[in-house]
C-alpha cells in the first residue's frame, strides 16, 4: 500500500512538474499573402472544410483545444503540428514552385482518398474534421481541377 502511495505521489509531482516546461505554440494572427485560399478561388464550403480539417496542423495557426494546455498532450500535438507543417503549410502555399504544388495536390488527393488524412488521432476528438463521402468527393474534384489548371 505504502509503495503505491509513493508511486502515486511521484507520478503526481512529475505530472505537475512537466506542466512548467514550455511548449512552442503554433499561433499567428495574420494570414500571409501566400495562403492557399488567397491565391486560389476556393468555394466557401471547401474553405470551411480545409480550415476545420487541415489548417490546425498545416498552417501557422492552430485552434488549440483546452486540453492541449496540459502536458503531455501538448507535446504530442506540438510534434504533429511540426511534422504537418513541414509536409505542407497552406499559409505558405504560393512560395512553392508549380512542380511542387502539383505534387502536393497529388498527395492531398491520395491521402484523402485513402483516408490517411485527417489522422485518426485527430478526428477522434475533432469529429467535425472527418470527411463525409460527399465532402471528400467535392474536395477531390476541386483539387483535381486545380492541379490540371496549374
Amino acid at each position: 500500500m505504502k509503495i503505491l502511495k509513493i508511486i502515486a505521489i511521484i507520478a503526481l509531482v512529475g505530472f505537475v512538474g512537466i506542466q512548467f516546461i514550455p511548449t512552442e505554440r503554433n499561433q499567428s494572427y495574420t494570414v500571409p499573402e501566400t495562403d492557399f485560399m488567397l491565391v486560389h478561388n476556393v468555394p466557401e464550403t471547401i474553405q470551411k472544410k480545409l480550415q476545420v480539417s487541415c489548417y490546425d496542423c498545416h498552417s501557422n495557426n492552430t485552434q488549440y483545444p483546452w486540453y492541449n494546455k496540459i502536458q503531455p498532450a501538448a507535446w504530442f500535438l506540438e510534434d504533429h503540428i511540426k511534422e504537418g507543417k513541414a509536409e505542407l503549410n497552406f499559409n505558405e502555399w504560393d512560395s512553392l514552385s508549380s512542380r511542387r504544388k502539383s505534387s502536393k495536390l497529388r498527395s492531398i488527393i491520395k491521402q484523402i482518398e485513402s483516408g490517411e488524412m485527417p489522422l485518426d488521432s485527430y478526428t477522434l476528438i475533432h469529429k467535425d474534421a472527418k470527411f463525409s463521402e460527399a465532402e471528400a468527393e467535392e474536395l477531390i474534384n476541386f483539387i483535381t481541377q486545380l492541379k490540371d489548371s496549374l
Partner: protein, 190 residues
Amino acid sequence: MTVGILVMTLTLTAISCKDGKKDEPAAPMSNEMYQESMDDKDDMAMSDNQDAKAEAILKDYFNLKDALVGDDNDKAKELGATLASTFGNFDASSYSDSEQQELKDIMEDATEHAEHISESDIAHQREHFKIISKDVTDMVAITGTENTLYQLFCPMYDGGSNWLSMSKDVKNPYYGSKMLTCGEMQKEIN
C-alpha cells in the same frame, strides 16, 4: 546555458567568416571554370563534372527502380535514402539561370519524394516513384545523359504512369511480380 550557446554561435560565425575570406581569392578561378563549362556546352559536349552528377542520379534511380521491380520494400527504403542525398547534392551551378531554377525545383521535389520512399510501405513507394520518374525525366531533358534511355509506360497504374530504364524490355516497377511485363516502350531518349 544561453551564454554558452551565444559563445558557441559567435565562435562558429567567426570560423565561417574566416573560411569565407579564404575562399575569396579562389572566386575568379571558379568563374573561369564556369565559363569554360559554358563553352563546352556550346560544343554540345558537357564537362565530365556535370555529366557525373546527372549520371549519379540516374544510377541511383535505376537501382531504386530495380528494387521496386523486385518487390523489395527494404532495399527500396535504403535506396530512397541514397537517392534523396544524391538529389540534394546535385550542383546546378554550371547551367543557365532558367535551367538552374528548373533544376532546383526538380531536385527539391524529388528529394522530398525520395525521403518518403525511405520510410514507406511498397504501395506508397510506388506512388512516390511515379513522381520521381517525372522529375528525373525532366532533369534528363535539361542535363542530357551519355547513355540511351527508354521511357516506358504502364497504362494501368494510376491512370497511366511512366518510368525510365536502360533497357527497352518491360519490367514493371509499379506492379513488380504481380504484372511484371505490363506496359510498353514509348520513347527512346538520346
